[in-house]
Amino acid sequence: MLARATTFTLLGIDGIRVTVEADIHTGLPSFTIVGLGDAAVQESRERVRAALVNSGFDFPLKRITVNLAPADLRKAGPAFDLALAAGLLAASGQAPPDRLAGHAFCGELGLDGSVRRVRGAIAMADAAATAGCEGIVVPPDNAGEAALVGGLDVVPVGTVRELAAFLAGDGPPVAERLDARDWLAADPPEGEDFAQLRGHRALKHALEVAAAGNHNVLMMGPPGSGKSMAARRLPSIMPPLSFGDALEVTRIHSVAGVLGPAPLVQRRPFRAPHHSISAPGLVGGGGPPSPGEASLAQHGVLFLDELSEFARPALEALRQPLEEGCVRVTRAQRTVSFPARFLLAAATNPCPCGYQGDPRRQCCCHPSVAARYRARLSGPLLDRIDMILRVEQPRAKDVMAEAEPEGSRTIRERVLAARAVQERRLRGSPAACNAHMTHAQLRRVANLEPAARAALHDAHERAGLTMRGHDRVLRVARTLADLDGSDRVLRRHVAQAVAYREPPPVLDGAVAGMLV
């Protein structure tokens, strides 16, 4: 007897429909799965067999063939277990086949018949809704995220028995559809606040500018000066996630298997991979392709501490997401695209020992070593970083100061106002903030007062501003004007933006502008 069940596999962050055909015939007892399944799919035979038997069902001692269609698509992972069990129950006559038609089944089975959570349930539910399924049967742990998708019933089943009950027409109630919009409106938990960061006035101001224009920043300073602490608090001053963005982030996190206990990601993600990370780890890859840290930081902050210590291939791989806002992983068979639009916050020591330019400690690096260290940062990556800040060790009197520093809420108000101006100005274009503007857009909206134009000229002449630094200065100046509520970019905005450019190179021990 033949039974068909619908399930989904993941390709990138999308669900692809897979039909499980279970066929039971008389013959020598055997259990074969065909259709390009990986090891986890092959092993599902053992899980399904044990789960059925341990739940009190018969496992037919006949010739069983399971086909996963389309047969030319590689399938991976244990999420087919539930569809397999449903198909076998129906094909062996232990459950009625009626409900198989309209529903999709996703879930991993335990040997005792329990149903375990899978990765990417929200993507599968979304694909099921698009495919016109009436409902989706998922593990209870995935019910919350699957219910974020409107337009279909979500049926959580905890065991194979519950699955059989569902197929028989009764069984567990449909999970309540979460109205995520209400839920998101609640203020996200503020674990980390800028009020905890004492001193560092210049750094905080710069990060406010970065958040306002979504500018990538590089913090340069001695170890222990508070670079990481500040970066961690960056999401708290960024605008809250919109519902659509939150869904997208949830989907990526679900596919990567890093979704927390809450079904919806409520806050902007903050990802801080260690500098030993590989290029695929950072931007995504592997077979089947899974999202990397850059994608997990979608709509949030990607923090790279010790930027100079990252492997060059990993940093090179970041160029595509920084330019295009997505990562394309190309394999022999097909190309998968992961969204990856994030604010890059990087931190580095100015030299290997970290004390170059520190007035209180002598740097102990050989100049050529320090120059090489800095040279690792140069090039295309720095081109994509709008602001470079020098971070100082905070002074004791600032740390001990009585006055409570400004909190994240107050800063966020200003950031939100600046973002609102940008959104109004950029309405109808793919860019939503100053950092994402194209060169042409930037020229159009810059609106420099004559004195500001002169300042830009001065910066080229006297402060060694390069052509490639020009756009970056203009972008940051535009954000500064937006924060000021000024329609025109004034001279002081340009002057301040110039202060955020790259310091001169270490090599040749000469200050900028001197012939070497």
Partner: protein, 371 residues
């Protein structure tokens, strides 16, 4: 090519014995001039008496014609101590180099002897202040046609050469290895510029790589070539103090750029100052010490000068003047400079000062007063 066979042979011997000198050298660096003052035979006897053959055999094969040819091929002019062009400043010392290898403008040596040159030395890991001081001193001295002698090392040395070159003035680099060998390799560009617009000098044979002892050996030549040696920055025990002590031994002037008492980099110059070295705050201090007060003024707008005339600072608007004063007191960080004012205003003001040329930025991103 003005070098006699004997002097070329001595140079080749130095190359052969270099590893032995390295091994024999005791912590007491002051003995190096005594070692270098020994005659050829005494030198071999003192350094490798047990393995004479290892040196004697290649030395017997030494061919002056070949040495001349290889020097010529590298574009090196060799001047031995019996030649009339050999600088008198060096000639009378017992440990004077047998021959000098020159690439570039050889006439600079005569100018140094006639007009008096100034050696500017200091730490490789100099601060932005040290780099700025070395560069501006060299720029103004070179603009007054005073040759600037240094060692092309990272930090202060390179800044001195760069400053002199920026003013289009004379500058001499004394190399620790062969004159044709850019050392440190990271300074290849500067070496090229020195070869065309200045002079690279060495007592070592063509193409020889430097040994540890070559640096103090080179320092004694720097001290001898200059009428005054100025230490810009250096920790206690820094190589620049060795140069200063060579200068003292030769009876030449020693000057030092004062620094902050608490800074380890200022320890060397400050000690020299306490021992009676001349205080060097600007090029005019040096010129006054060399030629008598007021005899040679620094050109009002120094050629290649980076900063506007100090008098202009008084005309800055009060906001910028206050900022500039803070930078002048040695505060380099935005955090410190923005104290008591708005951060945005401070940043904008610093950029304005940078546009005007009053301040510059060090490699660490700190602000420094340009002079």
């Amino acid at each position: 090519m003005t070098a006699c066979d004997g002097c070329l042979r001595r140079t080749a011997l130095l190359g052969l014995l270099a590893p032995w000198v390295e091994r024999a050298r005791k912590p007491n660096r002051r003995r190096l001039p005594e070692v270098l003052a020994l005659s050829d035979d005494e030198l071999i006897e003192a350094l490798c008496s047990t393995k004479r053959a290892e040196v004697d055999r290649p030395l017997a094969r030494f061919d002056p014609a070949h040495a001349r040819a290889s020097a010529e091929a590298a574009g090196i002019e060799v001047v031995c101590r019996h030649a009339p062009r050999y600088p008198r400043l060096l000639a009378h010392a017992a440990d004077a180099p047998a021959a000098l290898h020159l690439i570039g403008d050889g006439a600079l040596l005569e100018r140094a002897a006639r007009d008096g040159a100034v050696a500017i030395v200091g730490s490789r890991r100099a601060s932005s202040y040290g780099i700025e001081m070395a560069g501006s001193l060299a720029r103004d001295l070179a603009a007054c046609d005073v040759p600037v002698v240094s060692g092309m090392a990272y930090g202060v040395d390179s800044a001195a050469h760069s400053g002199a070159l920026a003013a289009g003035g004379p500058t001499i680099a004394v190399m620790p290895g062969g004159a044709d060998l850019a050392y440190p390799p990271g300074k290849r560009c500067l070496h090229e510029q020195l070869k065309t617009c200045g002079l690279a000098v060495s007592e070592m044979p063509t193409g020889m790589r430097p040994f540890r002892w070559s640096f103090p050996a080179r320092n004694r030549i720097m001290a001898a070539l200059a009428r005054m040696t100025i230490v810009v920055e250096g920790t206690e025990g820094s190589g620049s103090l060795i140069t200063a002590s060579f200068a003292q031994d030769l009876g030449r002037d020693v000057g030092a750029v004062p620094g902050q008492a608490t800074s380890p980099l200022a320890a060397g110059p400050n000690r020299l100052l306490s021992e009676g070295a001349a205080v060097v705050r600007s090029a005019s201090d040096v010129l006054d010490a060399l030629f008598g007060p007021g005899k040679r003024p620094v050109p009002a707008a120094g050629i290649g000068a980076a900063a506007p005339h100090p008098a202009l600072a008084a005309r800055l608007e009060p906001r910028l003047r206050r900022l500039l004063q803070s930078v002048e007191t040695g505060i380099g960080s935005v955090e410190g400079l923005a104290e008591g004012t708005d951060v945005a205003d401070a940043l904008a003001g610093l950029s304005e000062l940078e546009f005007l040329g009053f301040v510059g930025r060090g490699p660490g991103g700190d602000y420094v007063r340009r002079v």
